[in-house]
Amino acid sequence: MISLTLDVTLRQQAFTLEVRETASVEVLGLYGPSGSGKTSLLEAIAGLRTPDEGEIRINDRVLFSSQGGVNLAPRERHIGYVPQDALLFPHLDVEQNIRYGERGDTPPDLFPSLTQILELDPLLSRRVRHLSGGEKQRVAVARALITRPTVLLLDEPLAGVDRARRELILPYVLRIRRDLHVPLVYVTHDAAELTAIADRVLRLDAGRVLAAGAPSDTLTIAE
């Protein structure tokens, strides 16, 4: 469980992203159509985009505050980020990708437990260009989790996976929550995914929060 404070104003070309949300969650879902600001919000949390105004706090740790003049670098935020296209390092194999975020104090059993939970052991020596969409996502998740982040941001993890295989991937996401106890911020435009995993949903459209609350309340309302 983490407590998240997102007070973000981020001016973009098409619209201004405005989010004010405080929640204690295990899985926060961000739901909305393409271009509604979901990815921009994730990037602001990860530190890859600087909001124009506001404050981002996780468990009372201030990551960004326009008033307080705080803007932690991405490497200081302890946030795992898995972008939609996974962005595995193309010059490294699967194991090297996963181990990229290892540090001196990384527990030695973390790597084997991640590769076991995400079923990556048979893939470790592969070049990343030979992986399927779902495999890439799992590798990217392991790579992010090896840093022991306080929260894992998943940007449409099932988008690059064909419908038939999606049911095979979702259990892995549930295992992150159940076995590794890592809180998630989960972006999707598929309501069914969020019903399965989120305990709170922010519904975004054109940069504004249309609704916030339990999946059953937020996902069923009309557009």
Binding site: L48, Y81, L87, F89, P90, H91, T147
Partner: protein, 222 residues
């Protein structure tokens, strides 16, 4: 081909290798700066980086001659330290470096610009500082551009003439390179020797450009 031809060819290749090795670090730094950073005066820096490309090499050579001569502060400092540059092999290397720098820097810049910045972003979320991101992500992903740049710079160095003859002269056995040798052999009526150097030059240039093109083709397919 006689022993002279081979000695000149060996000397030129050696000087070009040293010049390329020395020009790479500053050229990579300049290429990275121009590809990844915006700062006041960037256009001015871009122009300065490209200047030796358009300035007549002889003019560049004249500038270097002044810079390392006894009338400039740098030349005086070197003189005081007992380091002689003008009309030595060091001048050959410097002339090669200055004239090949723009080619290397431009190629490095293009190589780095082709690297998706988001790979660097992801590396930073994984805890990597700027130096580690550069060393482990940017540099290997831009490797083809950097290698192509090095080969291009090496080829340019092999053929360097104008700046070299100004600042290093054409001292047989000391500063005579392939290009300078061809010129002096023709001037002194030794055309057969000039033709020998021409053949070696053509072979080296062909090899370097061929390897460079192969690399660019592979990068295009990757």
């Amino acid at each position: 081909m006689n022993a002279d031809t081979w000695a000149i060819a060996r000397f030129t290749v050696l000087m070009a290798v040293v010049a390329t090795a020395l020009v790479l670090p500053p050229a990579v730094a300049a290429g990275w700066l121009l590809a990844r950073r915006t700062f006041p005066g960037k256009t001015l820096v871009e122009t300065l980086v490209s200047l030796p490309l358009v300035l007549p090499p002889v003019a560049t050579g004249l500038l270097l001659l002044w810079l390392f001569g006894r009338r400039s502060p740098i030349g005086q400092a070197l003189d005081a330290a007992g380091i002689e540059v003008v009309f030595t092999w060091k001048a050959v290397v410097i002339a090669m470096m200055v004239t090949s720098f723009p080619l290397v820097a431009r190629s490095v810049r293009a190589g780095i610009e082709q690297v998706d910045r988001r790979f660097e972003d992801i590396a930073s979320t994984l805890g990597a500082g700027p130096l580690r991101v550069f060393r482990t992500i940017t540099l290997p992903l831009a490797a083809r551009g950097i290698i192509a740049g090095a080969i291009l710079g090496f080829s340019r160095a092999l053929g360097e003439f104008g700046a070299t003859i100004m600042v290093a002269g054409a001292i047989p056995g000391r500063t005579q390179t392939l290009a300078v040798g061809i010129y002096t052999f023709v001037e002194t009526g030794r055309e057969d020797a000039a033709w020998g150097l021409l053949a070696v030059s053509a072979l080296l240039a062909f090899g370097a450009i061929y390897v460079s093109n192969r690399l660019v083709d592979q990068a295009g397919r990757a």
